[in-house]
Subunit: 306 residues, 2 copies
């Protein structure tokens, strides 16, 4: 029996590269597609250059690669464009990708979603019972894509799951999030000026996310599945721990900013499906994940000072 | 001030042609697009041949036509393919159409939805409060498209409404529906064999639908709006009335078939938004609508016997 041949879109991205690593670790033949190849890509990765936004590129890609499995993590929107209509095009091209995957005989597809599909004000976000209130263009486009992926699988010759990521963190995350901002300030010996930090979040370290997505891909799970820790942690607790781990607790300044009213007070996943139906559970503790993230940021900071 | 220039996709279809008529009656410059032109199209209609499923055709269409308004009624799926993955492609191309419309400066867009987006078991289908359970590929693809249209308008330079049609009837409807079947049987002096007919439906005559869509287009309404009568009528009442109007009440045989469990017992619209926010109300009585439908079927029947 030959190894599964998995195509990963967005293979150079924050999520995609972790999927590539996790799939290689599971012995898969991994093909990655992105607009440009990372210099530090794994040598075992079979790389295809293509722009998923071009339909002709999508067709060529499947005829070159002939994958048995697909992880679709590409959705190349800069964070400041999360409200832009480019998200619409990613939804449309994600459907074209699905269609082409179906035509070329792919058996199993995992799409990447977001906790923002749930919207605000959920005590716990449950795949099967929470009423969906996706807020903003990015979340609505992801949600609509999920509806279409789910519908396609019900009618198709393949199966799909939709991995809703909660709060991924780790080295190389975009520099505007809470954790990169806080670490970045402390690396420069500047204070991290924050809100009161009463918000509760559900964090998952990036290598755990890649491993969870790989596990979902080889499970029989259908439809949406939260990829998260299932543990609520207060923002104040996260940043205080960063301060302690970096030996600069006095630079953590809580209560200085207003908290963003467009953000949920609590965004925590039910992990029942992930735990029992995949089944999968995280292996990286918050301390270990924060230490790895801090180490990478510190190395980058030293690199920049050279 | 020049007349609005309205582009109607699917202009040769059951819904599209009624939109064309209603828009011409309102003094619009109407452009229609379809894969082939109907022989009996209105002479004032400016027709463009294009296949909405081809992105290059979509681009050409907007540069030729430069519409100010768009009614997107094309969704060319034969009824037996309502579960097919072609619906996905219509969703994707509908998004491309929207994107192209936005790029070419269209101010106002109306998309066409369906009551099936609501799913079963609603006492009354309300745009703002009913939880959506779209059932099957067609309804799910329409629903996802609506989510994307709504999201685009929130971020865009144009506004959109989404007309959810309930049960359109009239001449030339597909021959498998309840009303065409019943009339067709009676035209041939054959019995119409039906379920007990306890299901409740919300019917709207096709010319009223065209007029309502035109009214929605020129209203300021945003988001989904039910296009329906707001009146529940039992299937048994509809078919008995057809029997009476055709003078063949004895050919109506209720209770012979099992009712379809995949169909709702009750599918009735709240018309609050349509009545107050557009505002619009129907002008064709059920008797007049049925008479027109019967007359057309009888003429067709005579035509066929010649």
């Amino acid at each position: 029996v030959s190894a599964p041949r998995v195509l990963v879109t967005g293979a150079s991205g924050f999520i995609g590269r972790e999927c590539v690593r996790a799939l290689l670790a599971r012995g898969c033949e991994v093909h990655g597609v992105s607009r440009s190849l990372r210099a530090d890509a794994e040598p075992e990765l079979v790389w295809h250059q293509a722009d998923i936004l071009r339909q002709t590129d999508i067709k060529r890609l499947f005829s070159e690669c002939k994958p048995t499995h697909l992880v679709h993590s590409a959705w190349n929107i800069p964070q400041q464009h999360y409200t832009s209509s480019e998200n619409l095009l990613w939804a449309a091209r994600s459907v074209d990708l699905l269609h082409e995957a179906q035509c070329s005989g792919v058996q199993r597809i995992v799409g990447i979603g977001t906790c923002a599909e749930y919207g605000l004000d959920h005590e716990l976000c449950c795949e099967d019972s929470s009423e969906m209130h996706p807020m903003g263009m990015y979340a609505q486009a992801k949600y609509a894509t999920q509806v279409l992926y789910n519908a396609a699988a019900a009618a198709g010759t393949f199966s799909t799951a939709w991995a809703r990521l909660f709060f991924p963190y780790g080295p190389f995350a975009n520099l505007k999030g809470l954790i990169p901002y806080t670490i970045g300030q402390l690396v420069r010996d500047s204070p991290a000026e924050l809100s009161d930090g009463e918000q509760e979040r559900d964090l998952l370290f990036i290598s755990d996310i890649g491993d969870a997505i790989a596990a979902v891909l080889f499970s029989g799970l259908q439809g949406p599945v939260n990829v998260a820790s299932g543990t609520a942690i207060k923002v104040s607790g996260i940043v205080r721990r960063i301060g302690e781990l970096m030996g600069k607790p006095d630079l953590i300044r809580l209560g200085i900013r207003q908290s963003d009213r467009l953000q949920a007070n609590r965004w925590v996943a039910s992990v029942k499906r992930l735990k029992h139906e995949v089944p999968w559970h995280p292996s990286t503790s918050l301390d270990d994940g924060l230490r790895a993230t801090i180490a990478a940021a510190t190395a980058n900071g030293e690199e920049a000072r050279k």
